[in-house]
């Protein structure tokens, strides 16, 4: 009969028996010992070592599984919580003396190693990806770099550019959320570094792609990947970049034979050209529409609805003007997002506001909840649209 003491003795205490509870020979504050409350469903990830803490020393660490991010909060407990280790705990062996004393006549005893003042608990949070955009925007990939891509030599540590391993140390997000974030930014891994491609570079690649489609009489709904990439390469565009362009502006088409085909996405392409026109700020709407129609590829139709979440319209005098205001340039945390939205415009109708908050995701908060929390809703008369303003 195993007469081991400690945790087992407590938990397996038999009816009509008792044990002595004493302070452990190593009793103390043990500030390096922490209690973490965990959902049962997260246990397998922790026990198979698939979780990590992420963040810089000046940030509050977050707890990341492969797919989710959690804030760590300490919850104090005013009760006295006596922590009792198992007796064969390798970290906290009892004195050799105790072992000698343990014989069949000696009743079992349990030792309190530490009095815990509380425990940590996890709260699911949205991944903190704004920093990712900040870091990758420090040095966007340019046309000049593209021309030097093939001859790139890693001679020394590059500054302001980041590898995957750098990102997981600095961005408070799980691996899957980080990859999602990179995809949302249309980032590309070039020579081991994750890069955002600058607007001018993307524009030159797209224009060359469209130019080649015309030259070779290819339909924009069925671009042959291999031929296109190969021709672009002879034009000075590395295959990696051409492929990325296809992914950003198009979708693959299913085909029976082994030829890989791509269909350009009308909205992605049209929005690209709209943004180019708006690079210099606000434009009169009809002037913009005329210029836009000229710039987009033959066969494509642009509609103003494509620009929701990208431009705002205002009436100045008798004229209608539009200016660029892209949701992708706004912070992803709700408080900051709403603050910027209301700075831009103090009052919003739902149909204008919706595209700018559609992507906000807060675990545990619905979109109604978000509106309730961050906006003031007013409806002066039942027959007019409700207006949202700052709280």
């Amino acid at each position: 009969m195993d007469k081991s003491g400690d945790a087992e003795a407590i938990l397996d205490l038999q009816p009509k028996s008792s044990i002595s509870v004493a302070y452990h020979s190593d009793f103390g504050p043990h500030e390096d010992l922490l209690l973490l409350e965990l959902d049962e469903k997260l246990l397998p990830d922790v026990l198979s070592e698939r979780v990590s803490l992420r963040g810089e020393p000046d940030e509050e660490a977050v707890f990341c599984t492969q797919s989710k991010t959690y804030a760590i909060k300490f919850v104090g407990n005013s009760n006295s919580v006596f922590l009792i280790p198992p007796s064969n705990s390798s970290s906290f062996p009892k004195n050799a003396m105790d072992c000698d004393e343990q014989n069949l006549d000696q009743p079992a005893s349990a030792s309190v190693l530490k009095v815990a003042s509380g425990n940590l608990e996890l709260v699911e949070v949205a991944p903190r990806l704004d920093k990712l955009k900040l870091l990758l925007s420090q040095k966007p990939f340019t046309i000049e770099e593209m021309s030097e891509m093939e001859t790139f030599l890693e001679s020394e540590e590059q500054s302001s550019v980041y590898r995957w391993n750098d990102l997981i140390g600095q961005i408070q997000a799980s691996n899957i959320e980080l990859r999602s974030g990179l995809e949302a930014l249309k980032a590309l891994e070039i020579n081991g570094y994750w890069r955002i491609i600058d607007e001018n570079c993307m524009d030159s690649v797209l224009n060359m792609l469209l130019h080649n489609a015309v030259l070779n009489d290819w339909s924009l709904d069925a671009l042959p990947e291999n031929e296109l990439v190969s021709i672009m390469e002879s034009d000075g565009f590395p295959p990696k970049i051409s492929n990325h362009c296809l992914k950003v502006y198009g979708n693959t088409v299913d085909k029976e034979d082994s030829v890989s085909l791509w269909k350009l996405n009308e909205k992605q392409v049209c929005v690209h050209f709209a943004k180019r026109i708006l690079n210099n700020g606000k434009v009169k709407k009809d002037k913009f529409l005329a210029e836009w129609k000229n710039k987009i590829p033959n066969g494509m139709q642009a509609s103003f609805e494509m620009l929701e979440g990208e431009v705002l319209t205002e009436r100045i005098g008798v004229e209608i003007w539009i200016h660029p205001f892209s949701v992708s340039s706004l912070p992803s945390t709700p408080a900051k997002r709403f603050s910027i939205l209301f700075k831009e415009r103090p009052k919003w109708e739902w149909k204008d506001l919706e595209p700018y908050i559609r992507d906000l995701k807060v675990p545990g908060l619905s979109s109604e909840g978000l509106l309730l929390k961050y906006t003031r809703r007013s409806q002066p008369r039942p027959d007019v649209e409700p207006i949202f303003s700052a709280r």
Partner: protein
């Protein structure tokens, strides 16, 4: 600084179970023992019957409580700081701090009633 891995030597089903005795209030040792609590007896835990009720006798007070299953398990984590020397020896990417899972707690003995003062100081067996 890279991510801090949470390590576990226990394997999926082998996490050692720790125990918790929880009571309201604070236990104070007599002044002469304050600085060397190690090995000092706190009290006696007793399970009088086959029910999961327990008594804890501390000094001349007796608490009554029960064994409770935790709604969510608690993991016992140990923060391990690597010395600078170890860091230099290991690869550059190994972090200075590691978090090890050294145990799990699924049940506790919880005392939440007012202590009963024992008139005589006879120990329960």
């Amino acid at each position: 600084m890279g991510p801090i891995q949470v390590k576990c030597n226990c394997g999926e089903n082998n996490c050692q179970e720790w125990a918790i005795i929880e009571l309201q209030g604070v236990i104070e040792a007599q002044p002469q023992f304050q600085d060397c609590l190690q090995n000092l007896e706190i009290g006696r835990l007793c399970r009088p019957s086959s029910q999961e009720t327990y008594t804890f006798t501390i000094g001349y007070h007796e608490l009554t409580g029960s064994k409770v299953k935790l709604k969510k398990p608690l993991l016992v984590l140990k923060k391990v700081k690597h010395s600078d020397e170890e860091q230099r020896v290991c690869s550059k990417s190994s972090p200075a701090v590691e978090l090890d899972v050294i145990g799990i707690i699924r049940q506790k003995i919880l005392f939440k009633t007012r202590p009963k003062a024992l008139i005589s100081s006879s120990k329960k067996v």
